[in-house]
C-alpha cells in the first residue's frame, strides 16, 4: 500500500484526476465529507489530503511514501526527498515585481517582501545585491503599494493580480510546476510500487 500525500485544493484535484486516469482511483475521495484519509485496497493506494505546503514534510518524514508538491515549496524548504517527475501541472513563474513607476536605487539596500525567504535570498545572493527581507504570509502585493518594501518576490500565474494592483514584473527567474516526490527509504522498500507509479505517470504527462 502506497501512502500518497495529495495537496488540498485545485492542484490536488488535477493531480488526483491524473493518478485516477492511470489506475490509482479511489471513489471514496468524491464523497462529500471531512475525511482526510481515503483508501483503495484494490488500487493499492491511500490518499492523505494535506495542506500544499505540508506535502514535502509528510514525505520527508516518511508519513507518506510519495507526494505531489509545487517546485516553489521544494526550493524554499529543500527537503531530503527524491524529485522523480515534473508533472507539468500548476505552471507559473517566480517573479520580482514592483509598482509600475518603480525605478531602482542601487545605492541603497533593496527591501524585498516575500513569502519565499530562501528563494529570494538565493536569487539576490546570485546577483550580489544587498537586500532586506520582509517576510509576509499573504497579500504580498500590498507591500510596495504601502511603501513597506521596494519590490516583491512572488509566484505569478496569469499576472492579473499584479495588473489590478498596478505592479509590473521586473524579472522572471524560476519556472514552477507540480513535482512527484518520494521518500528515500520508501523508494527502497517500496521500489516496485513507486517505480510502477512513476512509469505510469510519465506515460501521460506532457513532454517539455
Amino acid at each position: 500500500m502506497l501512502n500518497i500525500a495529495l495537496p488540498k485544493g485545485r492542484l490536488g484535484d488535477k493531480v488526483y484526476e491524473l493518478l485516477a486516469s492511470v489506475g490509482y482511483d479511489c471513489a471514496a475521495i468524491y464523497e462529500d465529507n471531512r475525511k482526510l484519509v481515503f483508501e483503495s485496497e484494490s488500487a493499492g493506494v491511500r490518499y492523505l489530503l494535506v495542506k500544499p505546503s505540508d506535502v514535502a514534510i509528510y514525505v520527508e518524514h516518511g508519513a507518506a511514501d510519495v507526494g505531489i508538491v509545487g517546485k516553489d515549496i521544494l526550493e524554499e524548504s529543500r527537503p531530503e526527498v527524491y524529485e522523480l517527475l515534473n508533472l507539468g501541472l500548476g505552471k507559473c513563474r517566480m517573479c520580482v515585481a514592483a509598482p509600475e513607476n518603480y525605478k531602482e536605487n542601487t545605492a541603497r539596500t533593496l527591501r524585498v517582501a516575500t513569502k519565499f525567504v530562501s528563494i529570494a535570498k538565493n536569487y539576490y545572493a546570485g546577483l550580489g545585491r544587498d537586500i532586506e527581507i520582509i517576510k509576509l504570509n499573504g497579500s504580498i502585493e500590498l507591500a510596495p503599494i504601502l511603501g513597506l518594501s521596494d519590490v516583491i518576490v512572488d509566484i505569478v500565474e496569469s499576472g492579473n493580480t499584479l495588473r489590478e494592483n498596478h505592479l509590473k514584473v521586473l524579472a522572471e527567474f524560476m519556472d514552477i510546476s507540480a513535482r512527484f516526490i518520494a521518500n528515500p527509504a520508501s523508494f527502497r522498500f517500496k521500489n516496485a510500487e513507486i517505480t510502477a507509479m512513476t512509469a505510469r505517470l510519465e506515460g501521460v504527462i506532457p513532454r517539455d
Binding site: G62, E83, A185, R188, D208
Partner: protein, 373 residues
C-alpha cells in the same frame, strides 16, 4: 538487579550487540574528547553535513568546537605507518538540525579501518555495515556505489567544471528531468544527456544492476569501478546478501574526500538513511597519512523512531496497599524486584492510572492479584 535484554530499548540493545560484533572482528574502542580545535572543521568544511558548528573560546584563547563529526578527529590522530588500525566509537556529535533550525546532539556509533585497505578489509567493513543494520531486527537494505563509476562517466562526457556540482545535485535527488535540462544546457549531445540520466534509474538488486551498469560503462575508470564492486560482492560471506545488497549509482559523496566504494543503509520504519560510509583515502592524503581508510557511522538516535514494546508500560506490576505496615509493603516490593520485575507501589487507589502488566492489592487479608491494568 540486572536489566534483562527484554527491558532494553532498541538503541541500547543495538549498541551492546554492535560493541560485541566489532570487537570480535578486532576493532578497538576509541574514546575522544567532546572538543576539537575549530580550525579542523574550517579547513574541511565540505566533509561535514553542515557548515554550522558550535564554537567557544577556551580559557587559553583557542577557538574550540563541540565535535560535529568523529571521522576527521580519528584520521587526524591516526598513527602513520602502523599497518592496519581497526577502531570503533560510540560518541555524540553536535550538528545543526535542518527541521528545527537549532543544534542537536546526535548519538553515533561507527568504525574506521585505517592503513592498508585491501580487498578483504573493504569487504569486512561492508559486511559489518550489513550486520549492523541486521542487528536492528527489521528489514534492511545496504545500497552501494563506486565513486569511480560516476566520476569516470562525467570525465568521459567532458562536462564543464562549473556545471558539475549542479548536475551531481540533480543526480543525488534522482531528478532526471532537471538533470537532462541542465546537461543539454551545458552543451551535451542528446545521447550523452540520456546516458547521464540513465544513472538516476540505475538502482536495484546488486547483480542484475551490475549487469545493467556494465552495459553503460565507457573507459577504464568505469570498468575498474565495476570490477571492484564485483570483487567486493564475492568477498562478503553473507547468505542474505543477494536480497540485502543493492546498487544505487545516483549516490554521490564529496569528490574531494571519497574515492572508491560508498554506501548507505536503510531499515524499514526509519525514513532516512540509518547508516552511511565509504572509502575516503583522499581524507588521509589531506592529513599527510599513508594508506587508505574506510568506515561508516550508524545514527543511533534514529533508532528511537522504532517502537519499543516495553516502553508502553510504566512497570511490570502495580502494587496498591491499604492499612498495612510500611515493612510489609517493602517486603512485597523486594520479593518481586528480586525476581527481576519492576514494581510501582502506591497507597490504594493508585493516582494517575499507571500502565502495568499486573495489578496487586496488599491489605490485612494478604497479597492478591485484583485485575490486569
Amino acid at each position: 538487579m540486572e536489566l534483562s535484554p527484554g527491558k532494553l530499548t532498541t538503541e541500547e540493545r543495538v549498541t551492546l550487540e554492535l560493541r560485541g560484533l566489532y570487537e570480535r572482528y578486532g576493532f578497538r574502542k576509541y574514546r575522544m574528547s567532546r572538543f576539537e580545535e575549530y580550525r579542523l572543521y574550517l579547513e574541511n568544511q565540505s566533509f561535514l553535513p553542515s557548515e554550522q558548528v558550535i564554537t567557544f573560546t577556551d580559557l587559553d584563547g583557542r577557538l574550540l568546537a563541540l565535535k560535529p563529526d568523529v571521522t576527521l578527529s580519528i584520521v587526524k590522530n591516526a598513527k602513520d605507518g602502523e599497518g592496519v588500525q581497526r577502531l570503533y566509537y560510540i560518541e555524540n556529535v553536535y550538528r545543526a538540525a535542518r527541521e528545527s533550525r537549532g543544534y542537536r546532539e546526535i548519538s553515533q556509533m561507527g568504525l574506521e579501518l585505517l592503513g592498508c585497505v585491501d580487498g578483504y578489509a573493504k569487504a569486512q567493513v561492508v559486511q559489518l555495515a550489513l550486520r549492523s543494520l541486521g542487528a536492528v531486527g527489521r528489514s534492511c537494505l545496504l545500497d552501494l556505489s563506486h565513486m569511480g563509476f560516476v566520476v569516470g562517466l562525467l570525465e568521459g562526457l567532458q562536462i564543464p567544471a562549473e556545471c558539475g556540482a549542479g548536475l551531481l545535485e540533480c543526480l543525488r535527488d534522482k531528478n532526471a528531468p532537471e538533470l537532462r535540462r541542465r546537461a543539454l544546457a551545458a552543451g551535451l549531445p542528446q545521447g550523452d544527456a540520456d546516458l547521464l540520466c540513465g544513472l538516476t534509474t540505475l538502482y536495484g538488486p546488486f547483480l542484475p544492476t551490475l549487469e545493467r551498469a556494465a552495459a553503460m560503462a565507457r573507459g577504464r575508470v568505469m570498468q575498474e569501478a565495476l570490477t571492484q564492486l564485483r570483487e567486493l560482492y564475492d568477498a562478503i560471506p553473507d547468505p542474505e546478501k543477494a536480497d540485502r545488497l543493492r546498487l544505487d549509482f545516483s549516490m554521490i559523496n564529496d569528490l574531494s574526500y571519497y574515492n572508491g566504494i560508498i554506501f548507505q543503509g536503510f531499515v524499514e520504519g526509519v525514513p532516512h538513511s540509518l547508516l552511511a560510509g565509504g572509502q575516503y583515502d583522499r581524507l588521509m592524503e589531506r592529513f599527510g597519512k599513508r594508506g587508505g581508510a574506510m568506515g561508516f557511522a550508524l545514527y543511533l538516535d534514529e533508532l528511537r523512531r522504532l517502537p519499543d514494546p516495553e516502553a508502553d508500560l510504566d512497570a511490570d506490576l502495580l502494587l496498591e496497599y491499604r492499612d498495612v505496615a510500611p515493612c510489609q509493603v517493602a517486603e512485597a516490593v523486594e520479593r518481586y524486584t528480586a525476581q527481576g520485575q519492576s514494581v510501582l507501589a502506591y497507597p490504594a487507589p493508585a493516582p494517575g492510572a499507571p500502565r502495568c502488566g499486573k495489578r496487586l492489592l496488599l491489605d490485612q487479608t494478604g497479597l492478591r492479584e485484583v485485575a490486569s491494568c
